[in-house]
């Protein structure tokens, strides 16, 4: 059934990831996470390749990839900015923080800058409510953000 050599998509980068999990169907999410870490998004061909190797329907891989916010089918920027819009952050003014980032990067939430440097996304709570408003830049948690702090932050990078 499985055609191992039928790699359409840079098998060299995807295949080792799949092999790491012994091509187990139950490891689909872990595999997708690793691919996402590798490419910063889930390329269509990679998903199709994973489905073929794991012997699952492509639509199942697609369903998982669209179910979780952590996965994206669109290429993301090199730097990932998450602005927390949870209740605690919201009452402390995360809306203003988000608007400032949007103005600064000239993109809307969910978008990527044309040069592929930044991707801006919102999250609904990261469990650090006491530190709100929270902004996460490349997995670095930045607390008590204000519009002024945010603009300084983006200038430096």
């Amino acid at each position: 059934m499985r055609k191992k050599n039928q790699t359409t998509f840079e098998g060299s980068r995807v295949d080792p990831i799949i092999d790491k999990y012994n091509a187990e169907q139950g490891s689909l999410i872990s595999i997708l996470q690793d691919i996402q870490a590798e490419y910063r998004y889930l390329p269509r061909e990679a998903l199709e390749h994973v489905a073929r190797r794991l012997n699952i329907p492509v639509v199942q891989a697609f369903g998982v990839a669209t179910f979780f916010r952590a996965f994206t089918l669109e290429p993301r920027g090199r730097q990932l900015i998450h602005v927390c819009m949870g209740t605690a952050c919201h009452v402390r003014g995360s809306q203003n923080v988000l608007e400032e980032v949007e103005r600064k990067l000239e993109i809307k939430a969910g978008g990527t800058t044309p040069d592929g440097e930044y991707t801006l996304e919102t999250v609904n709570c990261v469990g650090a409510c006491a530190l709100g408003p929270v902004v996460i830049r490349n997995e670095e948690y930045l607390s008590h953000m204000t519009p002024t702090k945010v603009s300084g932050l983006l200038k430096k990078v």
């Binding site: 329907p57 639509v59 179910f67 979780f68 089918l73």
Partner: protein
């Protein structure tokens, strides 16, 4: 299936609307209830497919006292000593509410509108969405289990969940057999006669009374018939 075969022979006994009945262990409540001839409406159930428990129309009440709860009978196994009520006030009320929500989502479906007549639903209190899918998953299971194509599935989550092919593009696995459309309860459009714009169909030009399926050969001569019992004032 294998479990079903293994335990065949020994029957489990449970109470169905106060009557002591027996059923095959391993069968679902819905199968057992239907075996005894009781009418339970369903939308996401099909005998040839794995039960899914999505539409919730098959709700029944099990247990008694504080343990009393509503369960989807299509995915609830029969158990020794279970107390089941299929048409209690709470069940009927819940069932109507579920159908009301489904119709508000999908007012263009003939099957839903017919069911509304059958359950004597008089009013839809929700804003209609005019969607064309109730996410019952019948087409997904049909495609996978009967057609072995696995070309369609669910994507997204929560309110953004929808049924699609991979990457929303024409799927290579799809043989265009049409089984998904055949089994879909929402595809068939309701009559486009007078009142086609209303959320709840008035059933005015139904050629066949909706009760006909219940009384196989006999035609209903009650005036007014159930399918025409609604007056324009009822339909909002």
């Amino acid at each position: 299936m294998s479990e079903k075969n293994r335990s065949r022979g020994e029957m489990v006994t449970f109470m169905l609307n106060g009557a002591r009945v027996q059923a095959d262990p391993g069968s679902s409540l819905l199968e057992a209830i239907r075996f005894y001839g009781l009418d339970i409406p369903t939308l996401c159930y099909d005998e040839g497919l794995t039960p899914y428990g999505a539409c919730r129309l098959c709700v029944v009440e099990v247990g008694s006292g504080k343990r009393e709860k509503l369960v989807a009978s299509c995915v609830h196994p029969v158990r020794e000593g279970l107390e089941v009520r299929t048409h209690s006030n709470r069940v009927l009320k819940t069932r109507k509410m579920i159908l009301e929500l489904l119709i508000a989502r999908c007012p263009g479906s003939k099957k839903l509108q017919d069911m509304a007549s059958e359950l004597e639903l008089k009013e839809i209190k929700f804003r209609p969405l005019n969607d064309d899918c109730i996410l019952c998953g019948l087409c997904v299971r049909m495609c996978e289990e009967q057609m072995a194509a696995r070309a369609i599935g669910f994507a997204g989550r929560g309110r953004d969940r929808y049924i699609t092919t991979p990457f929303d593009m024409t799927s290579e696995e799809c043989r265009k057999c049409g089984a998904c459309m055949y089994i879909c309860p929402a595809c068939e459009l309701r009559c486009q006669g007078t009142g086609a714009e209303t959320v709840l169909c008035s059933g005015c030009i139904n050629t066949e009374p909706v009760c006909a399926s219940r009384y196989d050969d006999a035609m209903c001569f009650m005036v007014p018939c159930l399918s025409c019992v609604r007056t324009p004032e009822d339909v909002k």
